[in-house]
Subunit: 225 residues, 2 copies
DNA sequence: CCGTCATTCAATGTATTGATTGATTGATGA
DNA sequence: TCATCAATCAATCAATACATTGAATGACGG
């Protein structure tokens, strides 16, 4: 048994801390407290959170051991507890920024290169197929599909697309392909799909390019040599 | 306004991530996933979490962008998403351990100074009395009790204690007191109580010290001047 | 001692989260 | 095509978390 105890209480303790950080108000309060000792009312003003609510969130932070208090006259001053709290905050910030970056890149990419918005590369296709983010649509006639097609592709010939639209899941991006760069079937399909408000893109290479690549043609894993 | 926007959406995004980490089951699942790609059923076995529940927590992790999936035949394999996820987990672990250390030290302190464990200060007595955490036990003879006693105290003379043990609530800590530092009645009482497995401590000052303090003697609030 | 200020407590209604059950989807192989 | 297996979905109930309100506490200054 190489893994540590699965029911080790440390998991609950970590979860407690994480849950305490799991509310924007508390993060805002922590951020201000990290700049130096502050009283409750100052914190309400800096954060815009109602007084009693601020107090409750502060107590929550205190219970979790993230802040400490001392009294100064009528006021109660909050400060960060010791321990590597700022490390945790920094790591979380960093992870959140990483995620934002990724999203921003996606948007910029598609905005600045409109063909990218339409066409999808083989690499992106494979990657997002693995992530289960897209559904592949083969718009060639049924006979051609039967003779061979990309793994996982659904076959709806372009002239049946309008009426069979319901077969395509709404929550995924639809990637249409046909015979290759000169073939216009998939472009037609895109026009139909987009008119119906479906997120959709085109795999320009089509079936021929796929064949010449080293990837499997049918029914096998995407990731085998 | 020297502070960055208080309502910056990054706070919500960080909170999302933190909240996702705020459940022991998800932490356990993440830990296993971090060791390598795993299918849902494997994870249920490793973690002991029910199947549908495991699946739901995994989806939660996926929504928050902490894991990614790919399909392999019938199975769906989960792996860590990229980004500094392990940093966050490491930072949290480290903070939780820090907290454990501190608690352990506290315990050791009280262990190494057993008198601390036995005697209770006037301040702690008042505070925990307010919190309803303790029950006060006057072990002097009935006549002395009748002549004046600490507010809220129950009277059970020490020689009746064994047989009247049932009068004392099991869920509270019992604080025994008698005439003062030289008086051994409360020490005897402690021996009896502890032999019966009751959590108990001693208020060494006894009734005399209480009288000389500014606190009320009987039937009144603890907090009026 | 009394009134005031800063904070906390207590109580309430509402919203969210988590566990469980049984049904459903999707891929596989006979 | 059907039976099977892995995973997800959908619906439900119980438990928690949040925000808000008004009352209570604790320290201060007159």
């Amino acid at each position: 048994m190489k893994n540590a105890d699965v029911h080790h209480p440390i998991f609950d303790e970590i979860a407690d801390i994480a849950r305490t950080l799991g509310h924007a108000h508390r993060l805002v309060l922590l951020r201000h407290i990290a700049d130096g000792e502050l009283a409750v009312e100052q914190l309400t003003q800096l954060s815009g959170i109602a007084l009693a609510n601020t107090s409750q969130h502060l107590q929550h932070l205190k219970r979790a051991g993230l802040v400490q208090t001392r009294r100064d006259g009528k006021r109660v001053l909050y400060r960060l507890a010791d321990g590597p709290i700022e490390n945790v905050l920094a790591a979380l910030r960093s992870l959140a920024n990483h995620r934002r970056e990724q999203i921003r890149e996606l948007i910029n990419d598609t905005m600045s290169r409109p063909d990218r918005l339409e066409n999808i590369s083989r690499e992106e296709l494979v990657r997002r197929m693995r992530n289960d983010e897209i559904v592949l649509l083969d718009v060639r006639p049924q006979e051609e599909y039967a003779a061979g097609h990309l793994p996982g592709a659904i076959n709806i010939p372009v002239d049946e697309l309008e009426e069979r639209l319901a077969e395509l899941p709404r929550e995924k991006v639809i990637v249409a392909y046909c015979r290759g760069v000169q073939c216009v079937l998939s472009a037609d399909a895109l026009a139909i799909l987009r008119a119906r408000g479906r997120a959709s893109r085109r795999f320009e290479g089509g079936f021929p390019e796929w064949l010449t690549s080293s990837l499997d043609v049918d029914g096998m894993n995407y990731d085998s040599g």
